[in-house]
Symmetry: C2
Subunit: 546 residues, 2 copies
């Protein structure tokens, strides 16, 4: 797998500096101890409160440094990727942020972390600091193990202890509450891939159709191979394991954690699967979905639950400084509101008759239908050869609905033709012509002349479509025609359309529309859309002079 980094030795310190550079001026600082001592702390810390310190190996970002800030951690100690920080690093963190109120260390249950944080705690005590430690062992993947791992559920303890510290509770109380909370947390992970470490060779141990259930956050194998199957079924398997550990009468907060590389789209889908299942009856609030305790780029997620009581609920809901913490939200079924229907059409938009308009429409449409093969032939030289069919389809659909048109009302007739073309003609050209007629109708009903109304339609079609005169499109006939119509009447318009259409055969590069992809081999070929426009005007002239 490929990664963004410079040198393996400095991945973690560079990332921590990146966090500092993007967290706001001076809110967070670091201790001057690189490379060994990688400690991020609150710049504004008041030692009259209990410091809350956590950390562990890197690779779990935003844990832990991302959670340093008001209402959560006072300091975070980072090791290298998946390696515990040293005793000296932890001790430096404790010394930096701990005053008379003391320090709570929150440690995930891994031997290295327990020992290094533990010895640091003992040294700090020897130096006169009051230090307590809570060890979080929330992973239920291995039900009989003596030492369950600490995973994403640890964040509940950060949040609760951080809130109690912020609200000036004392060390004994915070430690007791944190320990009790840690006992009431369960987590379970699932992944479709293992994670890879920047700068190290990686071999995915997963088969093409395999996932794993019960993973930790360091790439260690899961407890069970599990076939890739629907998200609903994968979630149901996890929910079943987790449910065994829940009190059915209790309410829980659920943290939905992206282990690394699951797209946000899929994380929301997973959240829906969890919260739409019977399992949700135990869940009162959610945190996430989002990347909270990751395992580098693992393509998996974890679910963590904590049993709620009033104090925990208050602590979890309290706002915090770090943006990486996602606010706890009460869960709710999706609220669905009815679609507002369009207002009913006025009487002037209902079917009506006008013999001249009818003749004009019929003549133009029949002309366009007659050109189907010719236009397809022109298009085959520059595009996919379907312009004639598309145009003919649109023209036929107008003819089919001729009796529904409000022919006595030219504006309403153009609006109705716009509606018909958008649904019947298909493709970009159907939408473009629909825009043309819809906007023209709007201008006409606002009092514009027919020519000016059609020019308004052209302006909107050009704006949305993005083509300009000279781009070898129907606009090269339509624009000169409409300008001439406004100035000199229909016959001049038809002449201008023909001149404009012919001119497209001298354009060597289509810049918009599908033929933009073809390049410079179109010299001598007339654009089929422009040709259709010119022919439509010619048909209109013929009828008008008949």
């Amino acid at each position: 797998m490929k990664h963004f980094f410079n040198r393996r030795e400095t991945i973690v310190s560079e990332a921590l500096d990146g966090l500092l550079r993007t967290s706001g001026a001076g809110d967070l600082v670091r201790l001057d101890g690189y490379p060994e001592i990688k400690v991020i702390l609150r710049a504004d810390w008041d030692k009259s409160k209990v410091s809350v310190v956590s950390g562990g190996g890197a690779g779990h970002e935003p844990s832990h440094a991302g959670f340093v800030g008001k209402g959560m951690l006072t300091a975070a100690v980072s090791g290298e990727i998946f390696a515990s920080p040293s005793v000296e690093a932890v001790l430096a963190a404790i010394r930096a942020v701990t005053g008379p109120a003391g320090c709570l260390l929150i440690v995930k249950n891994y031997t290295g972390d327990r020992l290094n944080f533990g010895l640091a705690a003992e040294r700090a005590r020897a130096e006169g600091f009051a230090v307590e430690m809570v060890i979080v062992a929330d992973d239920i993947a291995l039900p009989d193990i003596n030492q369950p791992r600490g995973v994403a559920g640890t964040l509940f303890v950060h949040k609760i202890a951080g809130h109690l510290s912020e609200t000036s509770h004392d060390l004994a109380e915070i430690a007791a509450v944190a320990r009790a909370a840690a006992k009431d947390i369960v987590s379970l992970g699932m992944s479709l891939s293992s994670c890879s470490i920047p700068g190290q060779p990686h071999e995915d141990r997963f088969g093409a159709d395999d996932g794993e259930l019960g993973l930790g956050i360091h790439g260690e194998p899961g407890v069970e191979r599990i076939a890739v199957q629907s998200a609903d079924r994968l979630v149901a398997i996890m929910a079943e394991r987790l449910s065994e550990r829940l009190d059915p009468r209790a309410a829980y907060a659920l943290l939905i954690n992206n282990l690394g590389s699951v797209p946000p789209l899929e994380m929301s889908l997973i959240a829906n699967a969890v919260l739409g299942s019977p399992f949700a009856k135990s869940v009162k609030m959610t945190i996430g979905p989002g990347p909270l305790m990751t395992a580098l780029n693992m393509n998996g997620f974890s679910l963590s639950l904590i049993r709620l009581d009033a104090a925990r609920q208050e602590a979890l809901l309290a706002p915090v400084g770090p943006h990486a913490w996602m606010p706890a939200k009460p869960i709710a079924a999706p609220v669905v509101v009815p679609i507002v229907k369009a207002a009913e059409q006025p009487a002037s938009h209902r079917a009506s008759q006008d013999a001249g308009t009818r003749r004009l429409i019929v003549a133009v449409c029949e002309r366009l239908i007659s050109l189907e093969a010719a236009l397809n032939g022109l298009d085959a030289k520059s595009g996919d050869g379907d312009t004639g069919s598309t145009v003919a389809t649109g023209a036929r659909s107008i003819l089919e609905r001729l009796d529904t048109l409000p022919l006595a009302n030219p504006a309403a007739t153009m609006g109705a033709m716009g509606d018909i073309l958008s649904s019947s003609m298909g493709g970009s050209s159907g939408v473009l012509l629909s825009i043309f007629f819809t906007a023209a109708a709007q201008a006409r009903s606002g009092g514009a002349s027919l020519a000016n109304a059609l020019l308004s339609g052209l302006e909107r079609m050009t704006f949305y479509g993005g083509a300009s005169p000279g781009d070898r499109t129907m606009i090269d006939a339509l624009e000169p025609a409409l300008k001439a119509l406004d100035a000199n009447g229909l016959e001049e318009a038809a002449r201008a359309a023909r001149v404009g259409a012919e001119a497209t055969s001298a354009m060597d590069k289509a810049k918009a529309g599908r033929s933009a992809y073809i390049g410079a081999k179109l010299q001598g070929v007339i654009d089929p859309g422009a040709h259709a426009v010119a022919e439509a005007f010619a048909a209109a002239v013929k009828i008008a002079s008949a």
Copy 2:
């Protein structure tokens, strides 16, 4: 690639429902139009303000529905993955949230979006709504193209227009400001992989050492193949391209966007590379790094900049409802604070003499050194055969520093031995013994008897180490010995240690320490750590009775 989903047809609607379930009760709602009409809107919307509506294909989450809320979008219209929403869907959104103040549509520059949002805008106008549209075309990947793509820089326009709407500006002003902003935005993307679509076969077009520069957000190929190289150099290439488009005298906001599956660790490292480079002199504030406009699971990132003026800056800094928006932060070099040194040791901790203590330490250490080969041999049957060497190394390090120990002060001597062992002995056992002596010293200086102080040390070592009596560790000798020492003196302690050590040979499963992994084949083998403890006590008895 493997994905979490149920059925292709419902991926987007399930994900949108997941968003609704986890966004808080009733803040967001959706229109009742699944499967075709996928519109998320603010439940609390006040139509006396200008509605701000955006959207496009799905696969870019949290864009766009994740940005619906106070101060940003009023509604978001989602298509299927990478496909524009229908005209009807856009029109339904406009109708649902637009009142007399009108509606601004924000559209990324793709033909499908332009046409479908465009026709919806024209239809809405025909229905009497005031509608304006701004098209964002911020991608500079293709410098000569007529129609640059709209990518992550679109979010600046969401934020600015959303702020102006929230603060009750009128449609003409918001549209003008949004259009001007869109002209002052540039973006560029880079990736090490293409993205894969759930339920569709995927072939990564990237070679093992290839990345691409100038990618869009739909898996379309980048403009250039680029060799995978250091993050600093990749960032420098992007910075160079972007710099060509910046006014060197102007200040910019920088949005650092995860295109999907870059681990947060690497995103922070990228942010550091960008902000630590000369390019940063143009940057006044940052948004991110984080997933803001993703392309499913693309392993890449994009940089977007907007030229700042006072109004844009105010708009970007204003707080918003949606958590997916990452607050703009002023940039700052990392602040580094000095490490607090440990307080200097008092005089009672400096080197001093006590002949009895010295003899005791020498005797125990020499005994342990003499056991090196025997302990290694025992360990080879259950572990990696190095217990003897580890113990001997620790003992030698104590002897080497004998003249530095405060021998006249037993508590301080134990503390000093703890310090020596943690740095010289190595491994878990070095840290465990260091915890043991450090905690014992602390208890002793607090007035505990030697036996009780050592029991305190054992209690801490057990807490941090996680082993219990019966787990086949040194604790099986140490615990009975220290209990006997407290009750009946040294000779009984030595006897109890020996009994305890021998008992480990009947334990069939090690539950802690390295031999936990070996399983049930240890019957008849004494634990080397427990044996060492028993021998240490035996040596102490011999000296005491000499």
